[in-house]
């Protein structure tokens, strides 16, 4: 088990994804992700030498438009969805740990 991805790597990827897992969750996720990555590795059987990658299947390419500022007049409505807001702004906690600040 865990040949392709180990617990430390799972924790590293979680950090990149801004997720955190308990020990029990890491125990469950690591072998699951390892199995799925094993499935991914079957792609190595496909010869893709000289094959271009596909990133879009849209028939629209390089659609251009003027870069015009647009005031949708919805800031008040949008703020209603914010978890915390005051005086027309979204409120967030301090970037620096408040417990160190005090």
């Amino acid at each position: 088990m865990a040949n392709r991805i180990n617990r430390d790597q799972v924790q590293h990827v979680a950090g990149l994804a801004k997720l955190e897992f308990t020990d029990a969750q890491l125990d469950a996720f690591t072998p699951q992700l390892d199995d799925i990555i094993g499935l991914f590795e079957t792609l190595s059987e496909v010869d893709t030498d000289g094959v271009e990658a596909t990133s879009s299947v849209s028939d629209q390419l390089n659609v251009m438009r003027e870069d015009v500022a647009d005031d949708w007049g919805q800031s008040h409505a949008l703020l209603k969805n914010a978890p915390d807001a005051a005086r027309g702004f979204i409120k967030v906690p301090a970037i620096i740990d408040e417990s160190e600040d005090n």
Binding site: V10, K18, F40, T42, V51, T54, S56, V57, P83, D97
Partner: protein, 489 residues
């Protein structure tokens, strides 16, 4: 009022003739949902007050002949934003989210005067094939409440199959319209990528996602697709191709005579249930009898679709879901010391396990040192899969096969086993990778559970699929069979 056996055309005729009013039909829809939803759990939110108000206004203005959808109720999958109506994507992280705008698809339905009666359940952020990853409730199959409805558009499919609504919108990233349509014995269309604007669809895999209709019959499906399709300045991947009146040619003159159909041998390979296989072989015979040619063809790289898809879709998801950070909208964790804590705790508490699994797979596939081996390789295999389809569709009008390897499975049977769940999508995923249209329609039964058939077409040739589906309907009776839930039916 019993409207279970009605379709869009007959409801429209009744509305125009004033045999019923939109308000009566809308009220009957809510009464019916309230009677049947305790068994089915298709809906996450009802829009009762606004819908009845809208229906009253439509009645007052009068419904004319050239307004085929006016006054008719519709249900919307809850990952499609609806102004002022809670839109959750079945995630705790969006539990209280009220959009300030409408998706283009729902705006177009509103312009056609359809009445949005509510939002249907789905797998969280459309990630799943059984609607079991919803944070809120478990939708049941309309035919057997011990079975899954499929997913991720399980709520929309069950709502249509159980007769709650005649039409619903779903979304399909890897089979999420077609597979639940198959499991519930209804018709579902995943349109060509770019046919329908994705504006207002909560993004999962942006290069794969499409909105499409679920209905009881092919003609209704075609009517709804014409209403929601077309270019949109808000989605620059939406196509400028003209939108046909898809239902226009669905009449007695419709024929499959002379059409060449490809039946890929990989679609009937190991893992596909005998009953499913036999339903598709019988459908092939039906088409032959009606004058079409059915050839065995090959899509040799089909089996790599699942692996390529779960890399590409998860990578796109890990990027798209970065926006859920507890700052501007949605769930924000309370017990935090600093801003970083808001991100990490809000996401960790707000997302369910399947969504976390996909974000992890995507972040891994895109991360330094792994990008070439995983994401880039998958993007190249995607090209190989597209070329397989191109080769077959060069001299075949469309491809036919099953939608899923099995009929609906038991609730709880596969939810702990991600790979088994992912492999269910093996016949639908390649269609999304290639951006092609795919139609799912009823083609048989297995132990009293519906079996669906999938028709896959050339880009922007939904017309041929609808025609072939309509002709199949005219010569079979699978679509006429309905589940027995008690109550109205």
């Amino acid at each position: 009022m019993n409207y279970f056996k009605q379709d869009l055309a007959s409801l429209h005729a009744d509305l125009v003739a004033k045999k019923i009013s939109s308000k009566e039909l809308t009220q009957a829809t809510f009464d019916n949902i309230k009677a049947t939803d305790p068994k089915i759990d298709a809906f996450l939110a009802l829009n009762e007050e606004a819908a009845l108000d809208q229906a009253t206004k439509i009645d007052a203005a009068g419904i004319k002949d050239d307004q085929p959808l006016a006054g008719i109720p519709v249900a919307i999958k809850d990952n499609i934003v609806t102004k002022d109506l809670t839109t959750t994507a079945a995630s705790k992280i969006l539990a209280n989210f009220k959009p300030v705008y409408d998706a283009t698809a729902t705006e177009k339905l509103a312009a056609a005067q359809m009445v949005t009666v509510g939002k249907t359940n789905l797998d969280e952020f459309a990630m799943g094939g059984s609607t079991e990853t919803s944070a809120f409730k478990q939708t049941k199959n309309a035919w057997d409440q011990t079975k899954v409805p499929g997913g991720s558009s399980g709520g929309s499919a069950a709502a249509v199959a159980s007769g709650q609504v005649v039409a619903a919108l779903g979304t399909d990233t890897g089979g999420s319209i077609r597979q639940p349509a198959s499991f519930n014995g209804v018709v579902g269309m995943k349109p060509t990528y770019g046919r329908v604007s994705r504006w207002g669809l909560i993004a999962f895999g942006s290069s794969l996602d499409q909105i499409g209709p679920l209905t009881r019959g092919v003609k209704d499906n075609a009517t709804i697709l014409s209403a929601i399709a077309g270019h949109d300045d808000h989605d620059l991947t939406s196509s400028t191709q003209a939108v046909p009146n898809f239902a226009g040619d669905l009449n007695d003159a419709a024929s499959v005579k002379g059409l060449r159909i490809g039946l890929p041998k990989e679609f009937l390979a190991e893992g596909v249930d005998d009953d499913v296989k036999n339903a598709i072989l019988a459908a092939a015979d039906t088409y032959r009898k009606l004058g079409a040619t059915v050839d065995e063809v090959s899509l040799p790289h089909n089996k790599y679709g699942v692996a390529a898809y779960y890399i590409i879709a998860s990578s796109e998801a890990s990027s798209n879901l970065q926006r859920f950070d507890g700052i501007r909208y949605g769930y924000r964790a309370q017990d935090v010391k600093n801003l970083e804590d808001v991100y990490v705790k809000s996401r960790s508490e707000g997302f369910g396990d399947e969504v976390k699994r996909r974000i992890m797979l995507g972040t891994f596939s895109l991360s330094a040192g792994f990008y070439d081996a995983y994401f880039l390789k998958a993007a190249k295999v995607r090209t190989v899969i597209i070329n397989d389809f191109k080769a077959v569709l060069k001299d075949h009008d469309f491809i036919m096969g099953p939608v899923a390897p099995t009929p609906a499975f038991d609730l709880g049977a596969e939810i702990q086993d991600p790979i088994t769940m992912y492999m269910n999508d093996i016949l639908t995923i390649p269609v999304n990778l290639a951006g092609l249209p795919g139609l799912s329609l009823p083609a048989g039964f297995s132990n009293n559970l519906p079996v669906g058939m999938q028709l896959i077409g050339r880009p922007f040739d939904e017309s041929t699929l609808y025609k072939a589906g309509y002709v199949f309907e005219q010569n079979t009776d699978f679509h006429l069979q309905v589940p027995t839930l008690g109550g109205q039916n």
